[in-house]
């Protein structure tokens, strides 16, 4: 069985005005089907408001769907009583680095999760050291998070999740508030955890360059999964992606436009090297 198995998942936000009358019902998830296997690296793409963050919150049992089925690590996520166990299996990193660090010292923050799980102190110390090492933040363990850069804070947040030893880690737009070097730091850390520790990574983002690193990409729009496949398959659909308010990597876009002008380039070009090679073969 897959680690995450979602079928026809639906969730609605009910918006009320001041007199408590329902003014609008937003169907944030509208029949989502999703399968993620153990050890996968998956990216979920979508514009703001496409429902991708709502989906993320279901994977961590912070929200419980109204319709459909959702199994996470063999546990039924439709039963709110399983929430605590599910959160042990799937950790979550949020967008704003400042608002998810609880403690005033890096290592104390990383210890927060395992402390909640009731792990014995000696084991916590071990896990904290290991997790900080895994994200390359060991030398900052005694620092205050306030003096760290955005990328460093996010790596601390990842370590905080890793110390709970989950099977899967969901990153909900972890780089949206970072500069390019911070973005790279965070993605490298996530990729390494996936490759070296076999942790399942679900990356929620609207940056195409980041999604390219994943093994599989899901595209969401209006609460539905509208496209899925390898990055190559998804990013060759330039027009379709544009329709979903998304971009394509610049070289894929250029290759697409050159093809439209009559150059006989193959489909699925993503990187500069690929485009150069393809152009060389043309002449």
């Amino acid at each position: 069985m897959n680690l995450i198995e979602a079928g026809k998942l639906a969730y609605e936000y009910i918006i009320r005005d001041e007199e408590d009358n329902v003014t609008e019902i937003l169907r944030a998830l509208d029949g989502v089907d999703l399968q993620v296997g153990q050890g996968d690296f998956v990216a979920i793409l979508g514009h703001n408001g496409s429902g991708k963050s709502t989906l993320a919150r279901h994977l961590n049992a912070l929200l419980t769907a109204e319709e459909g089925t959702l199994w996470i690590d063999g546990k039924d996520a439709m039963d709110a009583g399983n929430a605590w166990d599910i959160r042990k299996s799937t950790g979550m990193v949020f967008q704003n680095p400042d608002n998810q660090i609880v403690a005033g010292v890096v290592e104390e923050d990383v210890a927060f999760g395992p402390e909640n799980l009731g792990i014995p102190p000696i084991e916590i110390l071990k896990r904290v050291a290991k997790s900080l090492h895994a994200v390359g933040m060991s030398e900052y363990r005694r620092h205050s998070p306030n003096r760290l850069s955005g990328g460093q804070k996010q790596r601390v947040a990842i370590a905080g999740v890793m110390a709970m030893e989950p099977k899967c880690i969901v990153l909900d737009e972890p780089t949206a508030m970072l500069d390019p070097s911070g973005r790279k730091e965070v993605l490298d850390a996530a990729e390494r955890l996936n490759r070296e520790k076999g942790v399942t990574v679900i990356l929620i983002t609207h940056y195409m360059e980041e999604a390219v690193r994943a093994g599989r990409v899901f595209v969401m729009d209006q609460g539905k999964v509208v496209m899925q496949g390898t990055p190559r398959e998804v990013f060759s659909q330039v027009e379709e992606l544009r329709g979903y308010r998304l971009d394509v990597p610049p070289m894929a876009r250029l290759a697409h436009e050159l093809r439209k002008e009559g150059l006989r380039l193959p489909e699925g070009i993503l990187t500069r090297q690929e485009l150069v090679e393809a152009l060389c073969r043309l002449s």
């Binding site: 703001n48 436009e257 002008e261 150059l263 500069r272 152009l279 002449s283």
Partner: protein, 281 residues
């Protein structure tokens, strides 16, 4: 009309243990009607520079001249300067406070001492120029969507009628479409009013297509200054400053190395496309 920075230095927490030099010997002239991008990675001094332009920060040494006048003269009206050099901060939606969007937009012109009528006319004009639908003008700004909040905040600065518009990372946190929309809007505002517009960003790709001039900041100094095409050709220096030229520049380089006669000065995707089509057909 112009902004001139002459040998500007700026240090944070001067004369304490935490002293940090944010700007070192920056000299820069920005002419009226220019569209300038100031690029640098975090800590390069670009945001400090923005706050010097409207007098929010005072240079530790050196001079800033607006339209020929020294803004550090004791009788210079700083408030008036802030009305003329409108600064839109990063995540400007975090400054919204009014009970309605309209009231919030009126805050700027009110502070500058305009009459009620003039204030309202300016607010209407600003809201219209950012394209916020009329239906939400009298709603609470907190009920708007993320993108709309940002437009309302930009309108709040535009309503002061600035001659120069400075925007610090206007697209931060937006999705690709939202980013294109906001840059489209800035381009439109620039065209309609022919104001001076200064974009501050860490992303070359975002800014390259829009501006006429790029100033690259590194460690508090101006590293490069020129037209995008010229600046991007010096990608080796950019890389040393933790930045990169747009992909198109590298593509042109790679193709030339393989012996194709493509235009080495192409920096945008459109230019690259034209050049490749010419070379390959």
């Amino acid at each position: 009309m112009s902004i001139i920075l002459n040998k500007v230095y700026y240090s944070y927490e001067e004369k304490t243990a935490f002293e940090a030099q944010a700007l070192k010997n920056v000299s820069l002239t920005i002419e009226d009607g220019e569209f300038v991008g100031i690029i640098g990675h975090t800590g390069s001094g670009k945001s400090t520079l923005a706050q010097l332009l409207n007098g929010l920060l005072c240079a530790t040494s050196g001079g800033v001249y607006y339209n020929g006048r020294d803004i550090y003269e004791s009788d210079y009206d700083k408030k008036e300067l802030r009305g003329k050099v409108g600064l839109v901060f990063q995540y400007p939606e975090h400054q919204l406070f009014g009970t309605t969007v309209f009231e919030d937009v009126c805050y700027g012109p009110q502070n500058l001492g305009y009459s009620q009528k003039e204030t309202q006319l300016r607010a209407f004009g600003a809201l219209r120029s950012v394209g916020l639908p009329e239906t939400c003008w009298y709603h609470s700004p907190f009920a708007l969507s993320g993108g709309q909040k940002r437009l309302a905040a930009i309108a709040g600065v535009l309503a002061m009628g600035p001659e120069v518009l400075v925007l610090d990372e206007p697209a931060a946190g937006l999705d690709p479409k939202g980013r294109d929309e906001i840059f489209g809007l800035i381009g439109k505002i620039k065209e309609e009013s022919n104001r001076t517009v200064i974009l501050i960003s860490h992303s070359m790709e975002d800014v390259a297509d829009h501006v006429g001039r790029i100033v690259v900041m590194d460690h508090g100094s101006v590293l490069l200054d020129g037209a995008p095409g010229e600046v991007f050709l010096r990608y080796k220096e950019l890389e040393r400053a933790g930045l990169a030229a747009p992909e198109a520049v590298y593509l042109m380089r790679d193709l030339r190395e393989r012996g194709f006669l493509v235009n080495e000065k192409a920096t945008t995707l459109a230019e690259a496309k034209a050049s490749i089509l010419e070379a390959f057909s």
